[in-house]
Symmetry: C2
Subunit: 909 residues, 2 copies
């Protein structure tokens, strides 16, 4: 027996079941499952997703060869159950043909209903049902849908005219009716004639009269719709792989438009917005499914309670409501009762909030679809916790029902929905750091500080940001940059601050000199109001109100459950006591990355840093470093205090020195004044420090190896701070991290300096503390030679930002020029700076971990790149066997959930 391509279901039997979503798509698998649990579902069959893949590879002819027999057999089985016959003029069987992929892609692909109708069959249908209006309405719907979907007559742009709509509008106007269902049978017959003429006119061919031709045309059209533009776009947006393909569901038609005893509707087992355990939904009498969503008629509520709530909001009097918009509970109490029982049965069976589609044909209820319902972040959490309390879900199941990506919306302010609807988008960049922000355009970081002092809300707008801009970024409400990707300086820093940021908005044009920015053709001046959505990358003209979100008690409970099921610890990337405290409040269990260079910019420090850079020799550098020592020490004391008892991984100086000198005329003049040297000297030093590829330049441990005195000062500051804390009764656990190691010898040299300094300080202070010395694995060569490095390093922290840059050869600051195109053309499944590339970069992470542990079995391994807060990457880190992940404070809850899910998903009990 060869592969099975067509799965039948009907009459309480089914070839498939719910867990065959990959093969049958979500819709097909659930239709089968509903059959199996005794829910009334019109019979039908599902053509598998494998056929879609094959169709895309080998084309129509091959596909037909393979499946036609099975499809014919499927049709015969449906006929048998329904007691009707496909194409029969007296007793016709009609079909719907629908798409259905693994995950729901609502409205993205095509559907054909009422298939099997012809000029002759329609007459038979009218006779059989005694309802010609219904029969002709079904026929005109079929012609229109088939024309749109199979014959490609759908308008391509908004300006194009839809021939069917045009004819329909003309008819309604002529007849003086408002709604389609007010047309008479004769009107509908006329409409069908005109529709068919339109088909002939546009396509040059007559509308097909062979039901089998109709069926195959529809199946192929649905397969083709997998590749339509909006479906491709949707998949990009939702990270759905191209090669999954869609299944095709061919199902016996039932009719909600057979008169007053028929209806159709959609329902949710709980409230999708709030999560409240409240059955709700909408329906229409004498309608087909498309009418409910089309918005031409006002849909009615399913429950009486829902109906009353609706009436209140819509200002509808109770009398009017009862007469004109009764609930299903009132209008068809028996069907309602059955539907309510079914919804409970389905939710209990699937253990998840369900989104249902149903049709009532002549008082007989049919379920057409069930699937997990889309919901808001808040609803998602409430439902999961409620279902756990209700005993429907266990703790682990409950956790698995929460999508970590969606937690983000609970952790950041959002725009007021109504205000947002009226706003005009003027640009789109990358969603670099989530949240919403509104404020006045300011182009310069130092001025932003001044403005903020004056009480203004500032949006900092820059071509790109640099560490010089830190303070300005910190006071801004949001940051917008024209260049740079998801891990550009602006993006990384903003996420760390939990601040809204849109980066790499390539279409905007900034003129610093003129203090203007051109967006979507409009010139914005300094001081003009704009608003940013860091979760979508949209930039809006003007001010939009934002709403703060408060964390619910459900949220806290969820987090607590997470920690019970987690193997991976979650740390945070934090450089200040404030960030540290924030992260602790989100549940961080230590700092995985404390970037010391961010401390170099505050206040007077930058002067000492620049003194060091300007020094001609070691002695000169030591004088400047001596000034930095007490400041760094007190920084570390503050952080150790905030993290009381939790480990703090401190990375020694990493960025190239040119990041600490000003690159603009004004800044250079100021520096010359402060340092009491000529502007030429400043310029010459800056030029001397210039690098062609700073990412691959004189930075990281290369600084410490060429200027060991920097490492000495920083080690001293860390160890002294830890001892000072110990004396105050605070337990400081420093883990000193050497950045950018590429060879074991580099590590040995740096480690030696650190340990010598530590011993010296221990002796001076008469006190010891425990500390570790380890390294970041961020250079491919470090991963390749991790066995050697682990002979000396006590921990590894994967710096997957840089590791991704070097493994792909992508500069995160420049990749904005091609990454979007790469994702659009499917050359990359996703932005590798957002989600760890497990296929390539992941090999190095796994290799580094395994080789490191081979030499040092108890090697502590973590990740401190941006990926440490991304759920799929966290799952990978878990599987690789890391000890912890580290991410920006605002992503800590997401990471905790993702870590728990990784444990549940991957670990055997």
């Amino acid at each position: 027996m060869g592969t099975k391509y067509v799965y039948f279901y009907g009459d309480g039997k089914a070839d498939g079941k719910a867990d065959m979503k990959n093969l049958l798509g979500g819709k097909g698998a659930n239709l089968a499952e509903m059959n199996l649990i005794g829910i009334p579902v019109p019979p039908g069959f599902t053509i598998t997703t494998e056929v879609c893949t094959m169709f895309n590879l080998k084309g129509e002819r091959e596909m037909l060869k393979l499946i036609s027999k099975e499809v014919e057999e499927g049709v015969r089985q449906v006929e048998k159950i329904m007691g009707t016959k496909f194409g029969d003029k007296q007793n016709p069987c009609l079909f719907s043909v629908r798409s259905g992929s693994r995950v729901s892609m609502p409205g993205m692909m095509d559907t054909v209903l009422n298939l099997g109708l012809t000029e002759e069959v329609v007459e038979g249908l009218a006779k059989k049902t005694g309802n010609s209006a219904f029969a002709w309405d079904s026929y005109r719907r079929f012609i229109q849908m088939y024309g749109d979907v199979v014959l490609d007559m759908k308008p391509k742009t908004k300006e194009d005219i839809d021939p069917f709509e045009e004819i329909l509008e003309e008819m309604k106007e002529r007849k003086g009716v408002k709604n389609d269902n007010e047309l008479s049978t004769e009107d509908l017959m006329e409409l069908c004639g005109k529709f068919k003429s339109a088909v002939k006119e546009v396509t040059g061919k007559s509308f097909p009269t062979d039901p089998w031709e109709q069926l195959w045309g529809s199946i192929i059209a649905v397969f083709n719709s997998w590749k339509n533009e909006r479906a491709i776009y949707y998949r990009k947006l939702n990270n759905i792989p191209e090669d999954w393909g869609t299944a095709v569901n061919v199902q016996a038609m039932v009719f909600g438009n057979m008169g007053k005893t028929s209806a159709t509707g959609v329902a949710f087992t709980r409230d999708a917005a709030t999560g409240e355990n409240l059955f709700n939904g909408e329906y229409l009498i004498n309608a087909q499914g498309e009418d409910v969503v089309a918005g031409t008629r006002t849909p009615q509520q399913i429950t009486l309670e829902g109906s009353k709530r609706w009436a209140k909001l819509a200002n509808v009097e109770e009398e009017d409501r009862k007469n004109n918009y009764p609930s299903l509970e009132e209008a068809m109490p028996d069907s309602y009762k059955e539907l309510n029982e079914i919804q409970i049965k389905l939710e209990t069976h699937y253990k998840d909030m369900q989104d249902l589609e149903f049709t009532i044909q002549d008082n007989k209820l049919w379920l057409l679809q069930t699937r997990g319902g889309k919901r808001t972040g808040a609803a998602m959490i409430k439902i999961a916790i409620d279902m756990m309390r209700e005993g429907l879900l266990g703790e682990k199941e409950s956790l698995m029902r929460v999508d970590p990506h969606k937690l983000d919306e609970l952790l950041h302010p959002e725009f007021d929905k109504n205000a947002l609807n009226k706003a005009t988008s003027v640009a789109k960049g990358l969603p670099a750091s989530p949240g919403a922000a509104t404020g006045q355009i300011c182009f310069f970081a130092d001025e932003a500080e001044q403005w903020a002092d004056d009480g203004k809300d500032v949006i900092l707008v820059r071509i790109e940001t640099s560490p010089e801009d830190l303070k300005g970024m910190n006071v801004a409400k949001g940051i917008l940059t024209a260049k740079g990707g998801m891990t550009s300086h602006a993006a990384v820093v903003a996420r760390g601050m939990g601040k809204c940021c849109v980066s790499g908005a390539g279409s905007i044009s900034i003129n610093y000199k003129g203090r203007t920015v051109k967006m979507d053709g409009k010139m914005f001046k300094e001081g003009d109001w704009i608003s940013l959505n860091g979760s979508t990358g949209q930039v809006y003209d003007g001010r939009i109100e934002t709403t703060e979100v408060e964390l619910s008690s459900n949220f806290s409970e969820l987090m607590k459950i997470c920690d019970k099921h987690t193997r991976l610890k979650v740390r945070t990337n934090a450089d200040t006591p404030n960030d540290s405290k924030k992260a602790i409040s989100f549940g961080a269990q230590g700092i995985g990355l404390c970037r010391t260079e961010h401390m170099f910019f505050e206040g007077e420090r930058i002067i000492a840093v620049r003194e060091m850079i300007l020094a001609d020799d070691e002695a000169g550098r030591r004088v400047a470093l001596e000034k930095l020592l007490p400041m760094q020490r007190s920084d570390f004391e503050g952080i150790f205090e905030a993290m009381n008892g939790f480990p703090v991984t401190v990375r020694l100086l990493d960025p190239p020195l040119h990041e600490f000198v000003p690159h603009d005329q004004k800044g250079q003049e100021e520096m010359a004044r402060t340092m009491k040297i000529s502007v030429e000297e400043v310029k010459s030093k800056v030029e001397n420090l210039h690098e062609f590829n700073p990412m691959l330049g004189h930075r990281g441990c290369r600084l410490g190896n060429t200027y060991p005195e920097i490492t000495e000062m920083q080690s001293r500051a860390i160890i002294e701070a830890a001892i000072n804390c110990k004396k105050k009764g605070i337990n400081a656990v420093p883990e000193i991290m050497i950045p950018l190691i590429g060879t074991d010898k580099e590590f040995i040299m740096q480690e030696k300096i650190v340990r010598e300094v530590a011993e010296k300080v221990f002796e001076e202070k008469g006190e010891k503390i425990d500390y570790l010395v380890g390294t970041m694995i961020e250079i491919p060569r470090a991963a390749l030679t991790a066995d050697k490095i682990a002979e000396h390093a006590e921990f590894f922290s994967f710096g997957t930002n840089d590791l991704t840059q070097m493994t792909f050869g992508y500069s995160r600051d420049d990749a904005g020029k091609f990454l979007p195109i790469y994702m659009e053309k499917d050359l990359l499944p996703c932005d590798p700076f957002q989600e760890l590339d497990q296929v390539g970069v992941g090999q190095l992470v796994e290799m580094g971990t395994q080789r490191g542990r081979k030499t040092r079995s108890n090697l502590k391994v973590g990740i401190c790149g941006e990926h440490g807060g991304e759920p799929n990457s966290i799952d990978f880190c878990h599987r690789v066997g890391m000890n912890y992940v580290s991410c920006s404070p605002y992503r800590v809850p997401i990471a905790r959930l993702a870590a728990a899910q990784a444990s549940i998903r991957n670990d055997l009990e």
Copy 2:
């Protein structure tokens, strides 16, 4: 039995032999071997290199504990053979203590002679030999040497006074003599007294009178000298690992200073400069070895023929020569005869030209050392070929005797040696491209072209070069840059052109505006003469004559033999028909890398290229590309013609587009004029193209994937050119190479474009050709996913320049700031851009090759990075199983030899 640390030899017996160099050092192994083949060698013993390593790790005490018994036993054995006794006052045994590492490090480490003499022993020696002058001369030499070496009294700088030399000079002046050997016994006795007082004065301790104390002090001093500054420097220069260590040779003294019947000398079995089969060397009567090299007395020739040649050159009359400078052949005919027999025996035994040291003590000849003699590149080849012809060596042995690194000096002009001696070095950079060049300083490439047209010799002096400078570089005699490493643009291009280049001379300071360059404090103006040595990195003030080297027939024969024993093919990196022809003349068997972008700069092309860059859309780009098509096609035709029948790997456009636009005001103004747009537009476009890390930016196949029309044009040019060639009867074999592939999908997309274009051209032309589509593996991720990529790619070419950059995270243009320091501090064994890092980058090369072949067993694999011309890297490529290496034309012969040696070294017969 534990490890043996001391190896005895003497009286025709030896514990060691010649192939134990790693353990005994070269000197010790050969002393043992000479004993075994019956050559008179004073008895002694060798303390192994392992002891040196242990000494460095564990210190003196541990070392003594381990070896003192064996050393004492060694001394006793020597006493037995010599019939003397160490420290005995009547019949003393004296020792020399010398270093001896695996490979010769001439003069780098320390030696102590005449060890065992004390105030009392010297009297006994005088009595026993009846030669007090000799005895006291030996004693004063010993005190001086011991003081210098063991007691650390050697002057540290040139300015310091050597106390011994001062005393000696004072004495000679007082006595009115010119040479040491004119001093009387009394003088020497006085000298010894004063020497010892000096020791007491400087060190605060009396000169040791215990021979054992002297012996241990000397052994330790020799071990310590492994780590002296000049030894470390020498090892860096010659890539000798630090951990090899030196052996110590303790050997019974024989005396060349025992009067007129004694002598000492050095000899070569063949001429080290020309390779001529002519025994030659120098000696002195009544002297110790150090006198021959010290230059205080004029050494005499060993053979009569040599003596006569010398006299002619030195303008010495035959009478004078015979009386005052007789050859050893004349002065001591018996000893000469024996020596001549020994030299023949040694050369035949070792099958290599030998460098001998001998001493004649009272008419008895002793050999003190034999080793492979250093020689010039020309001599090296002549000797290898001659020995093969003489039947001394087989073909393979003969090849293995040639050092591929030394071939370089035969392929490039050199400075006249005499002129060079008088020249002043003003700067030192990296030896980026070998050869010598002299010319006038010019700072701008376009002006260099003008100057060259005017017949001037130009040295192009730049901070760094860019592709814009290509033509100027091509006409220059040499190139000097202030920034950039061994694989910077300047270096790579210069090597390709076979043009002398010194890069990264960090100490020079260029002022473009003032048209000056400051070197070693001196200000040079435009037009001033300087000279470059691209083989050493030296920059000289003024004009130095250069000499062209002609390739000998021996060279051609060597190359022919190479090809008989080689598995790896050697291709070349060439971008023009001229380079291609040059490479063919050097024996290249194809082009491994033809960089199409270099073609974009010539003449009118750059205008079309810029048109393409300025275009707003695809249509605009296509118009510009249409203009480039015929030019590219004719380039390829020329190259295919030059390479008739050999494969040509053409790399599609690789560099970021900003390399094609001018970055200076002048250039931008010119571009604006040519393109008929405003300077602002030019500036804005240039700014728009700017990248923070261009190395990791929008380049390689990322261009072809975002602008597929570029790939289309280039593919068309290649395929059309190949078909045009075919029609002319020329067999063109294009291998189209997609650069910078990181994912298989990138390759698939580019390959599709190439193949579609090819099919189209085949149809248009009614003619087909064979071609391959493959890729460069230069991104770590490509190596990691090579199995996937090889599903589609027909060949791999490892671009190890970029692969090294990304695997190490080193920008080749910026690494100059830390790489020299890294090598100095032993953080790196060598420049990874010069010699492939087999430990790290090599893993990716091996992985890429193996994984690629796993999917496609017949995958053609080569290397086209700079490492393709470096012998150790070539050996690695051979072992990894590559099909070919590719290098710049001037390195082709080196690669052919290295490839042959790799086959001989690694392949089983």
